[in-house]
């Protein structure tokens, strides 16, 4: 109930400003479905001049490969122009400029801001300062909503639905922001089943389990892979991210525990697909790559269409 209240409150904040995408819960089920529909349209025809004459600021205060390149490709394919920086060392942040002042300044120049920042909550804050829409391209370990939407598009494409999905979330479920957002998003669809596979140190936080309990959604916790993956529609692998650990020894202890190998996939459903937000380190063995159930590289391509859909939806272009 309280999480629902929180969602209402964030919605209230959002309504006071231009439409933004900061947290996955900013979008309703209707928004999710609209994005799925638009992404399919952009997949058929990626080049559409909807952003012609518009300037989009791409502000990456920390490095990113996939997210930044797919956003910038999406903007280019929509006919828009890009300003911005690829890491904070080439911005006035090095001179001590606050995020507040950077956003105030940039929102005078651009029609929309796409932003990645290492501090959590920075995108929400930026959306309150900015006079133009803000899309969160990742705020520290908090939210990465465009990744979630491209994950949902990948599920829709491969399973033909978002209802009744049995999903295995594997690896770093404690720090992994993508699994938290995906859990929240899938919870608005009918009868999801969540299976969490993680070592106790990286288990799904209690607040997300309580959230599922409050909605009467089934979930199961496992500490190792076992035969139960034969039931999976989706196996969602995550990287155990070194940068999220304060203690490198803790990272070394858990980094090799959950590795998916081709031999483990024999009894899985023929329609099952393996997703991964990438970059992969070693959690999916390279012998899986040639298996038709490996979907992670196509998933990354789906990011382009999904981000074209998100930009169009937020800017009211479609």
């Amino acid at each position: 109930m309280m999480l629902a209240f929180f969602m209402l409150l964030t919605e209230k904040i959002n309504r006071m400003h231009p439409k933004n995408l900061i947290s996955i819960t900013d979008f309703s089920k209707d928004d999710y479905l609209k994005i799925m529909e638009l992404a399919a349209e952009f997949e058929k025809e990626p080049n559409q001049d909807l952003l012609k004459g518009k300037v989009v600021a791409s502000l990456f205060f920390e490095p990113s490969t996939r997210t930044r390149l797919s956003f910038e490709t999406a903007i280019t394919r929509l006919g828009g122009r890009i300003i911005g920086f690829t890491d904070s060392s080439s911005s006035s942040v090095t001179k001590g400029e606050t995020l507040h002042d950077t956003i105030r300044m940039v929102s005078n120049y651009a029609d929309m801001i796409v932003m990645r920042h290492p501090l959590e909550g920075s995108a929400r804050y930026a959306s309150q300062i900015s006079g133009v829409p803000v899309i969160n391209a990742g705020d520290g370990a908090n939210q990465h909503p465009t990744q979630t939407l491209l994950d949902m598009y990948s599920i829709t494409k491969t399973q033909g639905r978002l209802d009744n999905i049995n999903i295995f979330l594997v690896g770093d479920l404690k720090y992994g922001r993508t699994v938290h957002s995906l859990l929240q998003a899938l919870s608005v669809f009918d009868n999801p089943i969540f299976n969490f596979v993680a070592p106790p140190e990286l288990a799904m936080p209690i607040e997300y389990k309580r959230f599922l309990d409050s909605k009467g959604i089934r979930y199961f916790e496992h500490t190792e892979f076992n035969d139960i993956i034969s039931e999976a529609d989706i196996i969602y692998m995550t990287r155990v991210q070194k940068e999220r650990f304060n203690d490198p020894i803790e990272y070394e202890k858990v980094k090799n525990i959950y590795i998916l190998k081709n031999s483990m996939l024999e009894n899985t459903k023929p329609t099952m697909k393996i997703l991964h937000p990438l970059p992969r380190i070693n959690e999916i063995h390279t012998d899986v790559d040639s298996n038709p159930k490996a979907y992670y590289f196509t998933q990354a391509l789906n990011g382009l269409y999904t981000r074209e859909a998100i930009i169009s939806h937020i800017m009211g272009l479609k």
């Binding site: 309280m2 999480l3 209240f5 929180f6 409150l9 964030t10 904040i13 947290s23 606050t98 995020l99 507040h100 920042h117 290492p118 501090l119 959590e120 909550g121 920075s122 929400r124 804050y125 705020d139 520290g140 370990a141 908090n142 939210q143 607040e207």
Partner: protein, 150 residues
């Protein structure tokens, strides 16, 4: 216990009783009593059957709205307010935890933007017992034990 009055009576104003002794100065800060020009008396480390030790504040000629006084509920959840008129208690109230907490508490998350720029903190109250506050910015939960007043 000595029945003598330990904090002098006021003619008109508000008595805030049952404040945890260690939170007295936080309550003074939250209610901005440090800049109040009216007569204020307070006592702390007073014996209390229920709390062990408590603090009490008496503010002359000052009457608090619910919203204003509820700000202290986070740190003094059992506080009681007596409104005094002409030396008589005309109203007794208890504090209630509001649904939203604005600019009182620090977010416990060191990586939260509110701990790096001058921002008004905002929390949704996720649970009232035990108190759990969800930061509107970083979305992390600050638990009762982690509450630090700004």
């Amino acid at each position: 216990m000595d029945k003598a009055l330990q904090v002098s009576a006021i003619k008109d104003g508000t008595v805030i009783d049952h404040i945890p002794a260690e939170r007295l100065f936080d309550v003074i800060t939250i209610l901005e009593l440090d800049s109040c020009k009216e007569m204020i008396t307070f006592g702390t480390n007073l014996d209390s059957k229920r709390m062990g030790q408590k603090a009490i504040i008496k503010v002359a000629n000052r009457f608090f709205q619910g919203q204003e006084i509820n700000k202290i509920a986070l740190i003094a959840p059992h506080a009681k307010l007596n409104t005094i008129k002409n030396y008589h208690v005309v109203e007794k109230r208890v504090v209630e935890i509001p649904e939203e907490i604005t600019n009182i508490v620090k977010c416990f998350n060191p990586k939260c933007i509110t701990n790096h720029e001058a921002i008004t903190t905002r929390f949704g109250v996720e649970s009232k017992k035990p108190i759990e506050l969800r930061c509107m910015y970083c979305e992390k939960i600050t638990s009762e034990k982690q509450i630090v007043i700004k």
